[in-house]
Symmetry: C2
């Protein structure tokens, strides 16, 4: 089996590639070839004995998408895209990369006249406030960012290309990924991870919002699980509504902190410092708090059972089991 | 005031132009200039004393959209598009005209750096079965045609361009327009109009579905009213959710026929012949039966009160008050 991963150099892309290499197969077939694409050069995955093609290229540039699918990969994980903040500050780049890049990939597949499985990472940014207490699967998409708009458009394209028989698409709306490893970044959502990650490694973390703020989270490990599971779903099982809200843990910031205290103790939880930030508060107020994700759960997608598990997963996967 | 109408040679485009000319103004300002665009040459509207520019051109072709907005029309009615059937049979043309054409128009407006009002005709084809008994305003869009997909994508673009301040958009999802004047066409929805229009002019009409089939209708006159009213709405009144399901009359085919009998008598209603068609039955089964359209009603959009009114409107507007 030949697998193509776009956005392969990103956090999810690297973890997905590592998981595919570790599993050695997908849907019961062994993986003998990997094509990894990103705008920055992806690294050669360690421990993979099959053929690997690495490409530093932009799918929205002429001819790149056609080249990427010329060898007809069986499964395509399409993760590439510019993030929310960048799509908002650079309007043209957001549309070029997130919309035109995806459309170029879908068109290249149509032109290649074969029918791969395409798993696309959408986002809960497709939703826009006001929301009900918990968002049902049939709630409309009224994004309040260009990023969310681009994701919602790509979902519609993926569904139409699937319906027309050009590919077998699955769009998965990822909740906020937490605990995000690495350095603190400037994303408005960064603190959700920061208040767990930083204290666990001995550093102070700033909390810009009230303890009562509620949000939905899934670990990087759960997100990789969603991708792998999405690849196993048949069109018969999915039906025409191929874009799915993924499950996650809905909890308040206060509950996140209490979970941290239970898992890592008072000393670690004490490293969080309240530093209210009105801008962040305003941005976060427009985000979804909770999603039913009923269909995804029924289709077998699994998130953690409690936020404590998300913290334990981070300690295992990123800290070698050690707390500072 | 300068008004641009795209798709100006179509049925709605011609009726809208005639109404604008008759009114002489829009939103309390007099109209001194009209630009009419369509792929087939639009006719010069009768009785208009202002400047008229007629253009037979395709918005998706290079430079056309920029030319259309170069003189900065204050209000743009964007009606242009290929219809449902053609978008399904010609995949590339549907995306080029309905998606790329609209995007070219929005991009030309952004490049012209001014902020016109843009009224876009979407369609209830943005919805896809299964539906609840009546579709609420917050129901998701899962179109089951490429046409519906293209309309849903354009709605998302219009909302994002509005949010970013490039224009003031309003998207209106038109129900089935009934009674559609002119010759019978091959559209699967054609019979909804045919069973009224043909008997009223002395001809037999074929009914391919059961009397129990329910659907939502608005007259051409009501549709023009929606467009004019949409142009009067301020961004403050609309809020960020600028795409609206329009109201209509939800009734069964049997109720349509009874209304025809009430308005025009047994002899006219007797010109409908049942001729079941499995293909049409299957297509129609996937269509929305009823929409709440709560927000549109609250915002002042008005449809007919009963199907009888739709028939009377047709007799007045198209038959000079006479029944055959």
């Amino acid at each position: 089996m030949h697998i193509l991963v776009t956005g392969a150099a990103g956090m999810i892309g690297r973890k997905l590639t590592a998981r595919l290499v570790k599993d050695g197969g997908l849907n019961g077939k062994s993986i003998d070839r990997l094509t990894l694409i990103d705008v920055v050069a992806p690294e050669k995955p360690a421990g993979f004995s099959g053929a690997v093609e690495l490409s530093a290229s932009d799918l929205s540039a002429a001819g790149i998408a056609a080249k990427a699918v010329a060898s007809k990969p069986d499964v395509i994980f399409h993760l590439a895209g510019v993030v929310s903040g960048e799509a908002e500050t650079d309007f043209e780049k957001g549309y070029r990369v997130n919309l035109d890049g995806t459309r170029a990939l879908l068109e290249a597949i149509r032109a290649a006249a074969y029918k791969p499985k395409v798993i696309f990472t959408s986002s809960i940014a497709v939703y826009g406030a006001p929301f009900p207490r918990s968002i049902p699967d049939e709630f409309h998409l009224t994004p309040l960012t260009s990023y969310g708009t681009q994701k919602a458009i790509c979902e519609l394209l993926l569904a139409d290309y699937s319906r027309r028989g050009f590919l077998e698409g699955v769009g998965i709306r990822l909740p906020t990924i937490c605990v995000r490893p690495g350095k603190p970044n400037k994303a408005a959502s960064g603190f959700f991870s920061g208040i767990i990650r930083e204290p666990l490694s001995g550093h102070e973390a700033l909390l810009p919002v009230a303890d009562s703020v509620r949000h939905t989270h899934a670990s990087p490990r759960a997100a990789i699980g969603f991708l792998i599971h999405a690849a196993s779903l048949t069109p018969e099982k999915l039906g025409p509504r191929i874009n799915l809200a993924m499950p996650g843990i809905s909890c308040t910031v206060g509950e996140q902190i209490e979970a941290l205290r239970r898992v890592a103790g008072d000393k670690v939880a004490g490293r969080i410092r309240r530093a209210p930030d009105e801008l962040v508060q305003r941005i976060v107020a427009g985000w979804a708090e909770r999603l039913d994700a009923t269909r995804a759960r029924e289709l077998g997608f699994k998130a953690e059972a409690a936020f404590d598990d998300i913290i334990r997963t981070h300690i295992e996967d990123e800290l070698g089991g050690k707390i500072a």
